[in-house]
């Protein structure tokens, strides 16, 4: 696997004594040409914004992006955030949103993958239909569900009234206590197919012989799942859950289009809140401080993310 750069490798083997880091970099100089375009684009659009966000977070900024008039105020923006009530409200919402969406997307996706694992007539068609919500735009999904939840003409309300479960159609997304769960249902609708695809691929790697051996030894279906299938899927499960968690933590479109964070902040999550602070109320400094906090939290999550991916990488290297 490692011996690919033929000439450089040969030269290094001829002179085993000289192997400094700089020398290594020089030997591999041609390799960097391949990744350079990707790295260059990423630098412009990542490194610069991160630097700029950190800088802005220490300033009081006038509205309208007249940033020459900004005033240095140290950690005041951070203090203002951490002492505000909205911050804790939004943080709680974000936790409920991220954990709820991730948990149910994963469980439903995994269960669907298990149910689709055995071949039956129409399996391919069914799988394709189940994946469609993941492909269509979140904007379209938001409008579809907004219409489904509509307080006068929504289909769910009409069904509830028709079954005699409600006197009049309930107002799902204009109600402080139901808005977040209602939006999570929409998010799961869009996200469970991703978990399903990942877990279906994972299931294909479980060796059939092991399952048959367990069956011969008298293990029932649940025991076979728990002791054979599930341990094999630990790696792909970790990656799937992490990817889902990151995506959910970062979601914006569904709450933004369906409610705009309302009513009274009940469906604001971090991202929508930051967006409103920056582009709605033009408080660039505070929004930047929020972004920096978000960044720090994500770096913590990112540590686990990279570790999970690196674990995969190592396995592949040894295989």
């Amino acid at each position: 696997m490692t011996i690919v750069t033929g000439k450089a490798e040969a030269r290094r083997r001829l002179q085993p004594g000289r192997s400094g880091a700089l020398r290594k970099i020089w030997e591999h100089r041609a390799d960097y040409g391949y990744v350079l375009p990707a790295i260059a684009v990423m630098l412009i659009v990542i490194a610069y914004p991160i630097y700029y966000t950190v800088e802005l977070s220490f300033f009081k900024t006038p509205p309208g992006l007249q940033l020459r008039d900004k005033i240095f105020i140290g950690f005041d923006n951070y203090a203002a955030i951490l002492t505000s009530e909205v911050f804790w409200k939004v943080t709680l919402n974000t936790l409920i949103w991220t954990i709820g969406s991730t948990f149910f997307s994963f469980v439903l996706g995994f269960a669907a993958a298990l149910a689709l694992h055995r071949d039956f007539v129409g399996r391919g068609v069914l799988r394709a239909i189940l994946i469609i919500p993941w492909v269509i735009s979140a904007v379209a999904a938001s409008y579809i569900w907004k219409w489904i939840y509509h307080s006068d003409f929504g289909i769910i309300g009409a069904v509830l009234v028709g079954l005699g479960l409600a006197d009049r159609p309930p107002n799902f997304i204009d109600n402080v206590s139901t808005v977040l769960p209602s939006l999570i249902v929409v998010n799961i609708w869009r996200e469970f197919p991703f978990a399903m695809i990942m877990m279906m691929a994972g299931l294909q790697t479980v060796p059939d012989q092991l399952l048959r051996a367990a069956e011969v030894d008298g293990a029932n279906a649940w025991q076979r799942f728990w002791h054979v299938t599930f341990p094999h899927l630990r790696n792909v499960s970790t990656v799937t859950i992490l990817l889902l968690a990151v995506a959910n933590f970062n979601s914006f479109i569904i709450p933004w289009i369906m409610t705009g964070g309302g009513p009274s902040n009940a469906s604001h999550i971090w991202i929508t809140h930051i967006y409103e602070l920056a582009f709605g109320r033009q408080r660039w400094g505070v929004a930047s401080a929020y972004s920096v906090l978000l960044f720090l939290m994500l770096m913590t999550l990112g540590y686990f993310y990279v570790r999970a991916l690196a674990g995969n990488e190592r396995k592949e290297g040894s295989a």
């Binding site: 696997m1 490692t2 690919v4 750069t5 970099i25 591999h28 390799d31 391949y34 990744v35 375009p37 990707a38 684009v41 990423m42 412009i44 610069y48 914004p49 700029y52 966000t53 802005l56 269960a111 689709l116 055995r118 189940l130 469609i132 919500p133 492909v135 735009s137 979140a138 904007v139 379209a140 409008y143 579809i144 219409w147 509509h150 003409f153 009409a158 009234v161 990942m198 279906m200 691929a201 994972g202 790697t205 011969v216 279906a221 792909v236 799937t240 990151v246 933590f249 970062n250 914006f252 479109i253 930051i274 967006y275 972004s291 978000l294 960044f295 994500l298 993310y305 991916l309 592949e316």
Partner: protein
């Protein structure tokens, strides 16, 4: 299996019953998931072929008594001002997504190949830096990027979108393609090089054809990502004639939100290109997505 059946027939029947129990609960679950997935989409279609009056009846009609294509005709009619806007948004989305897709593939292919084949110092660091990009939400980059785009004169151009879409599409594209290159045996290239091919020739003649499925998948992924993107387009573009579909539709319908059939028809037509693309090429797409995460 047969010996088992002969020696323990009772055990076998009991086991089959138990397996059937699991199978049936699986089927019931799938029916439930099918309803959860499909009913909203059917409701979208059914609403889109109603008249404005029929859409606002209570109790609602599951399927309209008098289906009409009026909403679609309105959106697709270039003589109509609504149709003009919609077709322009559609064209803008198509343009931005296509350019993004082509550039993504051009940039991602060499990078993924290098990450898969070469062992240069800093390889892991660079690879994970690229992946980390996906961790961070658009919002963090939005304010500074907006200022940057304004400084280099790209605000209100499609160039600003292509540049940003490129960066958030690249990490996954590189990751997906790397998975494909990892599975192509190095020996094939080595054989070609022994026969006198340069590294570049070996890449073009041996590796590229074998990784075509991966490139197709990467392209679909970039296209769908760009087609559905909302937040950058929402922030960077303000001129009506440049909006892409997701933003355009929002601007459009926030003014007269009672036109539910029109909104559903527009949502449907916005979904058609990506769903068709996905259905036609889904085996590449699904395979590539899982290639990186699941090692065989």
């Amino acid at each position: 299996m047969s010996t088992l059946a002969e020696t323990a027939p009772r055990g076998r029947t009991r086991r089959r019953m138990r397996i059937d129990g699991w199978r049936w609960s699986g089927r019931i679950f799938l029916v439930f998931m099918l309803l959860y997935t499909a009913l909203p989409m059917i409701w979208m279609l059914s609403t889109s072929i109603k008249s404005g009056f029929a859409a606002t009846q209570f109790p609602p009609q599951w399927w309209p008594d008098e289906p009409t294509l009026a909403s679609y005709q309105k959106l697709l009619d270039p003589q109509n001002s609504v149709g003009q806007d919609f077709l322009r948004f559609f064209w803008n989305s198509l343009f931005v997504s296509t350019v993004t897709t082509i550039l993504s593939v051009i940039v991602a292919v060499p990078a993924a190949y290098a990450f898969s084949r070469f062992r240069f110092p800093g390889r892991n660091f660079l690879f994970f830096t690229v992946l980390l990009r996906n961790m961070f939400p658009a919002v963090i980059f939005l304010v500074p990027l907006f200022i940057l785009m304004r400084a280099i004169g790209l605000v209100n151009t499609h160039g600003s979108l292509v540049l940003t879409y490129l960066t958030f599409g690249l990490p996954l594209a590189i990751w997906l393609l790397k998975g494909f290159y990892d599975n192509i045996p190095v020996q094939l290239e080595q054989a070609a090089r022994i026969d006198g091919a340069t590294r570049f020739q070996a890449f073009i003649l041996i590796v590229m054809p074998l990784s075509t499925p991966g490139i197709i998948a990467t392209a679909i992924y970039s296209f769908i990502g760009a087609w559905n993107e909302y937040i950058y387009a929402y922030t960077f573009l303000s001129k009506n004639e440049q909006l892409t579909l997701p933003v355009g539709i929002q601007r459009f319908f926030s003014e007269n939100t009672t036109d539910f059939p029109g909104l559903m028809a527009a949502s449907f037509m916005m979904s058609v290109p990506v769903v068709v693309l996905f259905l036609v090429l889904q085996r590449y797409f699904v395979r590539a997505l899982t290639e990186g995460a699941v090692k065989h």
